[in-house]
């Protein structure tokens, strides 16, 4: 191939203007047109030894699909992506590309990386526009039954792969809608729910049954499922929200991010009273934490009508774990950042939150994680008036299943222990993947692990050997 011309800058992505979008719940980036996608894909240098693929947890053939987009073979591009990634419309939107594929793009050293995520999204959206997906030919039924617990990215991926191998799969989901964090956590303006529904419908079209309103560990135990099913896959995520353990945290108006986002997204409280579930329409909303969950909360608060949406984070900007795009979008929308700030106590009147007391930090020596440690400055206490606070400092797996399942080994942090080659747990016939084995991580990792688990489950069902 002749050497290719370097185009230093990305094709800009059209977005809803910040002042407009904070008054609606619609998606922010509008997506590439076909011409824009072709031009952006042509920026790839098509290096003989591409570096980007090493950054992809599921090893998408990135230069391959970029080339197909460039020549206008969008069908070919999406098919190639789907060989290793079952949910491209979702991951194209929510993967932390800057620390994965795009972070390793050769252009990165001097120029802007290729918009790999946006092109992945483009290919997937193009396919959706072509109408319903044809259902692939399924092999004859194997007669084996698998119970998949949880319908997040891990559960949906495992279910689809197992169904395509001829197994009868039932997904058990505690909530009234399938999709896990994709449906209850990540807001519509970042990931339209229609996309998640389309993926769920596709999985169902493969013959997968979904039993909603079913909390495993309570509606039935894993052992009871094993009486009826040949294998059980746990994709139950990390749903237990952490709190700070500081005074006043149980005042009305202090939410976990899970509660705030579940009310807003799953229950559609942003459309109250048209929908029945209320949410506190705070004027000054403080979000504590700086991950994706925190950005989602702070930006949701603006859309629910907050005049001030403030993020409080104890480290500095460089350590904020959220996707770069989310931080950028939050800043554009007017979210304020109180960095190097540690929350100390909540104060309220008549049981309702009125203030958050904080302490200012300065940066000290690097800690064990290599990040500079925040050190409190004595006497720097100050208070921020607020009527809603959202605690978004992390989560771990819910203990329900571990507590009700004999011989299922878990680590101290609550995660289920697995063999990373096969995703086998300590209990015969039970596999696990996704946030339940890692703690809060990413969609793409959950999906990649679920694919490994599906393969191992298939092998186990065929051989019977554990």
């Amino acid at each position: 191939m002749p050497p290719r011309r370097i185009v230093p800058k990305r094709i800009p992505m059209a977005e809803q203007a910040p002042e407009v979008r904070i008054h609606n719940y619609d998606e922010v980036p509008l997506g590439f047109t076909a011409e824009q996608a072709i031009a952006e894909a042509a920026r790839c240098l098509q290096d003989a030894r591409p570096s980007c693929m090493a950054g992809c947890p599921v090893n998408i053939n990135i230069p391959g699909f970029l080339h197909l987009v460039e020549i206008g073979d969008f069908r070919g591009a999406i098919n190639l992506i789907k060989e290793t990634n079952a949910l491209p419309a979702i991951t194209g939107r929510v993967c932390p590309q800057e620390s994965q594929c795009e972070g390793l793009c050769v252009l990165c050293k001097k120029y802007e990386p290729v918009s790999i995520g946006q092109l992945e999204r483009f290919a997937a959206d193009w396919e959706a526009e072509q109408g319903e997906l044809p259902v692939p030919d399924l092999p004859p039924a194997t007669g084996k039954k698998v119970a998949v617990v949880g319908s997040g990215p891990a559960g949906l991926t495992a279910a689809a792969d197992l169904a395509r191998l001829g197994h009868a799969v039932t997904i058990f989901e505690a909530l009234h809608e399938a999709g896990g964090v994709l449906i209850y956590g990540i807001p519509e303006f970042r990931l339209p729910k229609a996309i998640v529904k389309r993926e769920v419908e596709y999985v169902c079209s493969l013959g997968v049954q979904i039993q909603k309103d079913f909390l495993v560990g309570s509606s039935a135990t894993v052992d009871e499922l094993l009486e009826e099913y040949d294998a059980v896959f746990l994709g139950t995520g990390a749903g237990l929200p952490w709190f700070l353990g500081i005074p006043g945290e149980n005042l009305g108006g202090v939410y976990s991010a899970n509660e705030y986002l579940t009310r807003a997204n799953l229950m559609k409280a942003y459309r109250f009273p048209e929908y029945d579930t209320p949410i506190a329409r705070g004027r000054r909303v403080i979000t504590i934490g700086a991950g994706n969950t925190a950005m989602d909360s702070a930006r949701t608060a603006l859309r629910i009508g907050a005049e001030d949406s403030i993020v409080v984070y104890r480290r500095s900007r460089a350590e904020m774990p959220a996707r770069a795009e989310e931080i950028h979008h939050a800043e554009q929308e007017g979210v304020q950042f109180h960095l190097l700030t540690t929350p100390l106590a909540f104060y309220g009147e008549n049981g309702r939150l009125t203030e958050l007391e904080c302490l200012q930090n300065e940066l000290g020596e690097p800690d064990s994680s290599g990040r500079r440690r925040p050190i409190p400055i004595p006497g720097s206490n100050f208070r921020i008036p607020c009527d809603v606070a959202i605690v978004a400092v992390g989560q771990s797996p819910s203990p329900i299943i571990a507590k009700t399942t004999a011989d299922l080994a878990t680590a101290k942090s609550g995660v289920v222990v697995v063999d990373k080659e096969t995703m086998k747990t300590s209990k015969k016939g039970v596999f696990a993947a996704g946030d339940v084995i890692t703690g809060g991580a990413t969609v793409i990792l959950a999906m990649g692990q679920a694919k490994i688990a599906a393969k191992a489950i298939h092998a186990y069902l065929q051989s019977g050997n554990w």
Partner: protein, 289 residues
């Protein structure tokens, strides 16, 4: 969908429905609850399982019409269905033969108290039940409670049925005169449970309450249901719903329960106005015809 097979009006505001929910019925135990959602736009609300029939695959739910959601639920008829019923959720009551126990039920709390009372009676306890409500039309299941109790005391705030007293008055008398009482259960409005706790405290009698906090998922995922005990915060949906009444921070519980009062009012008013308009439109339609 979870169809309603039977409906009964227990009192002015209290309705009973028998619903087909085989998975829940199969596993339900006294003390557990379900989360229901009436339709696509509805809230998820916790309701304690008042009774269950494993063979028929049905559960009995009893609710009091207070806000928009419960009033809307009250309009469901036989043949209608709930969009969702998830469960059974929460821990079951620990049933043992404790000796003599007192069961205190207030208003709609009599419903969840019933299966626990029945199980305690079956386990051989001497059961004294005190059930009360504001006034006679709000009282229900006196007969069923009588069947599973050795002694039953009725009271109403206005004296329209049984004794004119709040439930803690006969409770106090029993505790003073009968040292054999080993345990007390109380289910009802928050304030009633708070005062029951205060009544039994000086006697040092283990007292259990079933808390009815606001919930969303009911699976331990949001923390919205949290309650503060001596040892710190707990999630009612997965750690409860039964707790040691003497450890509960009642002030905080009551405050959290009333957090959405303005929104509840807004929702109810909007719904009632909407229904009025519908009724008027219907009248116009029929009169034209």
């Amino acid at each position: 969908m979870y169809p309603i097979l039977k409906k009964q009006i227990l009192s002015e505001q209290v309705k009973l429905v028998v619903v087909e929910a085989p998975i829940v019925a199969h596993k339900a135990q006294p003390g557990q609850f379900v989360i229901v959602r009436v339709d696509e736009r509805a809230e998820r609300i916790p309701l304690t399982i008042a009774d269950f029939d494993r063979d028929a695959g049905t559960i009995t739910l009893i609710f009091q019409e207070v806000g928009k959601s419960t009033k809307q639920m009250g309009l469901l008829e036989v043949g209608d269905a709930f969009e969702n019923i998830a469960g059974p959720l929460g821990h079951r009551t620990e049933i043992e033969n404790y000796g003599t126990v007192v069961m205190v039920g207030g208003g709609v709390g009599i419903a969840p108290l019933f299966p626990i009372t029945r199980a305690l009676k079956e386990a051989g306890n001497h059961v004294i039940s005190i059930i009360g409500a504001r006034s006679c039309p709000l009282l229900f299941w006196e007969d069923r409670m009588a069947e599973v109790s050795d002694e039953l005391i009725l009271c109403t705030d206005d004296g329209s049925a049984g004794r004119k007293a709040v439930v803690t008055v006969p409770l106090q008398e029993i505790l003073e005169s009968r040292p054999e009482v080993k345990r007390v259960w109380a289910i009802g409005p928050g304030v009633m449970m708070k005062y029951t706790a205060a009544t039994t405290k000086p006697f040092n009698i283990p007292t259990l309450v079933s808390l009815n906090t606001i919930m969303i998922d009911g699976t331990g995922m949001c923390g919205g249901c949290r309650v503060v005990l001596n040892g710190g915060a707990r999630f009612v949906c997965v750690d409860g719903p039964e707790f040691d009444a003497h450890q509960v921070d009642w002030e905080l519980l009551l405050q959290r329960l009333s957090f959405y009062r303005a929104e509840e009012k807004e929702s109810l008013e909007r719904w009632e106005a909407h229904r009025c308009n519908l009724d008027r439109a219907y009248e116009t339609l029929t009169s034209v015809r």
